[in-house]
Amino acid sequence: MPAKMATRGLSVWYGSKRAIQDVTLDVEENAVTALIGPSGCGKSTFLRTLNRMNDLVEGCRVEGVVTLDGEDVYGRDVDAVAVRRRVGMVFQKSNPFPRSIFENVAFGLRIAGMRDRQTLAARVEESLRDAALWDEVKDRLGDSALALSGGQQQRLCIARALAVRPEVVLMDEPASALDPIATARIEELIRELKRRYTIVIVTHSMQQAARVSDFTAFFYMGELVEYGPTERIFTRPIQKRTEEYITGRFG
């Protein structure tokens, strides 16, 4: 089976500083791929390159190839906005709009031109159910999203990303600001979502990577050190640096 997304010889610069160096990696469909590594290793940069969020960073330059279903994401005729509709994103810090719960989830649909109220309502409910938030908010969809707890806000952000029905969901340390219970719920959700979505998650918690992912990529100093099935990476790493990192000797 061909990879859902893939990079070939991908390098990313911020000004004259190279943040990612020559990364070649396949993201499998309907699987969870975890990116791990110490702070500043380039894992977040790599993630943001996949849906062209780095286009917005001044001085950022991308070299190499990123493909989505075999199609070059950075191709000359490819619109970054169209890429981001297919490759959604959940951020480290939950960032709901200061609006109602309903309007948060409906945002992506509205900007895509969906007007019909019933369709909108149905899609909002479906997305909130997918994000395991529906039962907690169904009676107060008109309330401000900022009134929700941290964990609920993050699930709302996931619901908001799912509402536009992306094919790939990128998650940048989605649980790093949450307590253990909220984290467990997010992890459960990720395992649930991979049946229908391709998920790439950045995490600094190796336990989390081990719990939720099918594949793990270890980044160090902007390079991809090792990539493979999660179980193998954590039990029989080939590279010495991977072993040192996962056994907690540095990072």
């Binding site: 969020m53 917005l56 001044e58 169209a82 945002f107 900007i111």
Partner: protein, 300 residues
């Protein structure tokens, strides 16, 4: 001198300066309120001036000031906000053009207001108005647009207050968290959609503050409207964009220097100054209040 003595001397000197400033403010405001207050009445606010402006009220001046300021607002807000949006959302941080525009905006803010008045006369009244007349009517002896009027005065004031709106709007845009922009863009919003649906709504309190500051600055300026539309006295209220108008600030000038009987006009003068002062002061207070509320909302 020992260190503590020096400290004390400095404290005394700065305290004296503060007292001086407060004292001057108190004398100015106190004088105006003392003389102006007895003059205030419902009739003063709603009547026409009579008896060479020594009697009656100042309603036409209030009306003219409000009309002028509203028109100015309609002109300055879209232009100022659009400029700020371009500067902050579209032009890159290293854009040369943006640097030039910013420098121009700051220079604009430093231009004396009488220069704006002359610019308004030359550009809006004579050039723009005159050109319309040439094109449409072709009779230079009977100008329709090419003469001072409330529209030209409002546009002149809009140019004067443009820097205030641009600077405060840009500040408001800067205060919108990057997170929210990324959230919108990550959902497939275009830049324009992000600006219109996320950035501007979240900056509206800041933009409103800029607007109020612009209005309070514009409402008190006399020099820019001197040649572009203000009238000594008008027997009617302006009803057309091309009509001239009376204005509180200009009315103060007229009462103080142009009246045939300065002594007799004095009570009306104090009353007018008080009204003008209350108007601009309350606008400033509203701006400060809005801004503090906005900052508090951002922090939480």
């Amino acid at each position: 001198m020992t260190r503590t003595a020096r400290d004390r001397a400095l404290a005394a000197a700065t305290g004296l300066c503060v007292a001086l400033v407060l004292g001057m403010l108190l004398v100015v405001v106190g004088e105006i309120v003392r003389h102006g207050w007895p003059q205030l009445s419902w009739a003063f606010l709603t009547d026409q001036p009579t008896a060479d402006m020594t009697g009656g009220g100042i309603f036409p001046a209030i009306y003219g000031t409000v009309a002028l300021t509203l028109l100015m607002t309609v002109a300055v807000v879209p232009m100022g906000v659009a400029t700020a949006v371009w500067l902050h959302e579209y032009a890159g941080r290293s854009s040369r053009l943006a640097a030039v525009v910013r420098a121009a905006v700051h220079n604009l803010a430093g231009v004396p207001s009488i220069v704006f008045g002359l610019f308004g006369l030359g550009f809006f009244v004579l050039f723009l108005g005159g050109s319309i007349d040439d094109l449409v009517y072709g009779d230079p002896t009977r100008p329709v647009w090419g003469k001072p009027g409330v529209l030209w005065a409002a546009l002149t004031l809009a140019v004067l207050t443009l820097p205030v709106v641009i600077v405060t709007t840009e500040e408001a845009l800067r205060a919108v968290p990057r997170d929210l922009r990324e959230a919108a863009l990550g959902l497939g919003a275009t830049r324009l959609q992000t600006v219109v649906r996320v950035v501007l709504p979240n900056a509206r309190a800041g933009i409103l503050t800029g607007l109020i500051l612009a209005v309070s600055r514009g409402a008190g300026e006399v020099a820019p409207i001197l040649f572009t539309g203000a009238a000594n006295f008008l027997p009617y209220l302006p009803s057309d964009l091309r009509d001239m108008f009376m204005h509180l600030g200009y009315h103060v000038f007229v009462l103080a220097t142009q009246s045939p009987n300065v002594e007799a006009a004095r009570p009306a003068l104090y009353g007018t100054v008080l009204v003008l002062l209350v108007l601009t002061l309350s606008l400033n207070v509203a701006a400060v209040w809005l801004r503090s509320r906005y900052r508090a909302a951002l922090r939480s």
